[in-house]
């Protein structure tokens, strides 16, 4: 099946469409687009951009732990550590309320510093710099399929918890009074966000993953009239920026993730300018 889709892409009348790495990358982008637009819309709506940023940064420590444990592929140690960080931050947020920003910032900085200290020991940090920038063109067909499964899981989860998540972001007590399992739903969101961010970080990059999550949704928010058009716009912006960013990065010979984010930033600035006054 994967070969068939790749063959379909190679029928496109462009030179880049003939390369297997571009076919893989295009399919990866098509999986990342709905994934990130759904998660990003919720992150922006719940004012959790700082939280997702911390999740991205914690990946460094996750890699470092994997290195200490001596595993070849640090993905698992990254995933476990990111879930741990998500739970810690959720717990802190619940205990302290609104003043969580400083604590989240402290957790984020600690995670980055710890990761860099461990990874730079003996001068070998350059080996890990690919995690900072990300390399979408290195994605394998197996990884693209795994990404597809992650997308499917998030779609199912979102169908079940989205309404509860939205109401609890507006007022947790109100959600609780309607019998919603506030803490469970919050934990589901935090963990799924942690897993998605960490899983995709090797292709998108620690430095820009949060921008890819937040910018399209922030742009969509400037022009949306309701939750449905908000999600539609976030999806469209991510899709257009994702596909055109990939192709541009091929011709410009630039990092794919950063090129996509740059386009998303342009979208954000544009929507900010056309935003109707009084909104």
């Amino acid at each position: 099946m994967y070969e068939n889709i790749s063959a379909l892409i190679s029928l496109l009348p462009f030179s880049w469409a003939q390369y297997a790495f571009m076919q893989n990358a295009l399919l990866a982008v098509l999986a990342v687009v709905p994934l990130f637009s759904l998660l990003g819309a919720m992150v922006v709506n719940n004012q959790m951009a700082f939280f997702s940023d911390t999740l991205g940064h914690s990946a460094l420590t996750g890699i470092a732990i994997g290195v200490i444990a001596g595993v070849q592929n640090p993905t698992w140690s990254m995933l476990i550590f990111a879930v741990f960080i998500a739970m810690v931050v959720t717990f802190i947020k619940e205990r302290t309320g609104s003043s969580a920003d400083t604590i989240i910032g402290a957790v984020s900085a600690t995670a980055v510093a710890l990761g860099i200290v461990i990874l730079s020991k003996g001068g070998g940090f350059a080996r890990y710099s690919r995690y900072l920038v990300g390399d979408l063109l290195s994605i394998t067909p197996q990884e693209v399929s795994a990404l597809g499964l992650v997308l499917l899981a998030v779609l199912v989860l979102w169908y079940i918890i989205f309404n509860q998540l939205l109401l609890l972001s507006i007022n947790p007590s109100l959600a609780g009074s309607r019998g919603f399992k506030v803490k469970l739903v919050e934990a589901c969101f935090a963990i799924s966000l942690a897993l998605v961010v960490t899983f995709t970080i090797q292709w998108i990059g620690i430095l820009i993953i949060n921008a890819l999550l937040v910018l399209p949704a922030a742009a969509a928010r400037n022009i949306a009239a309701g939750m449905r058009s908000y999600h539609l716009w976030a999806f469209l912006i991510t899709a257009v920026c994702g596909v055109s960013g990939l192709i541009l990065s091929y011709y410009w010979d630039t990092a794919t993730g950063a090129t996509i984010v740059l386009l998303a930033a342009l979208c954000y600035i544009f929507t900010l300018m056309i935003r109707q006054p009084g909104r």
């Binding site: 709506n45 979102w158 989205f162 309404n163 928010r221 400037n222 309701g226 939750m227 908000y230 909104r279």
Partner: protein
Amino acid sequence: MKTVEPLQPCGSACGLCVTQISHFSVNIRGKCILDDINLQIHCGQLTALIGPNGAGKSTLFKAILGEIPHEGKLQFLDSEGNRSAKPRIGYVPQRLNFDVNSPITVGDLFTAALGQVPVFLGGSRRTLHNARLALSRVEAEHLINRRLGALSGGELQRILLALALEPVPDLLLLDEPISGVDFKGMQRFYRIVSELRQQYDLSVILVSHDLNAVADYADRVVLLNRVILCDGTPQEVMKHPLFEATLGRLEHFM
């Protein structure tokens, strides 16, 4: 005055169903916030909960909602005498936590609370129909496509009331906003609550900061400050010496 004497039910209210709050105590980190609260709320009755800041009014609501651990029992007796430990509670929060630029509309809010189909897919037609019906109860049908951030304080409060009444609860908890609602909006809100209480036979507990409105609309006033200081009709409570000692003298009052 300390004992809980049921007032005459008003209007069409049956007055037979009752919410019993017995021996509610809340301790948070060793500090006693509420101490042995006993209240019986009859349906059709509007009970106002007043008290100084930090008296435990919001904490009592959170305990009733089951959000924070507490001692004591909550029981609901319907008009046929059936007991239930989990009455259906409608809750109108004091404030919502959303950004004013947020693209959430009133319809989205109702879909999130009432519907099965996720809001990002637009919800179902039936849910939106129910939302319109609920909104018409509070004279707010026309607001369904407005963003929450574009509503006035009074409109938002009415919408939250409509949401709390869908489905019609056994007990309605109203946490009145401290600011942001003008006098006319407040009057309108109280009038609607008062009418709906009779129409749907609601038991209502209202945390209020507006003592004039309390005097006009409440059937009963409970003065709370960690314990129940006094409990009676508005006239009784406001003439009580503890009222002045707790909330100060109100010259312009009544």
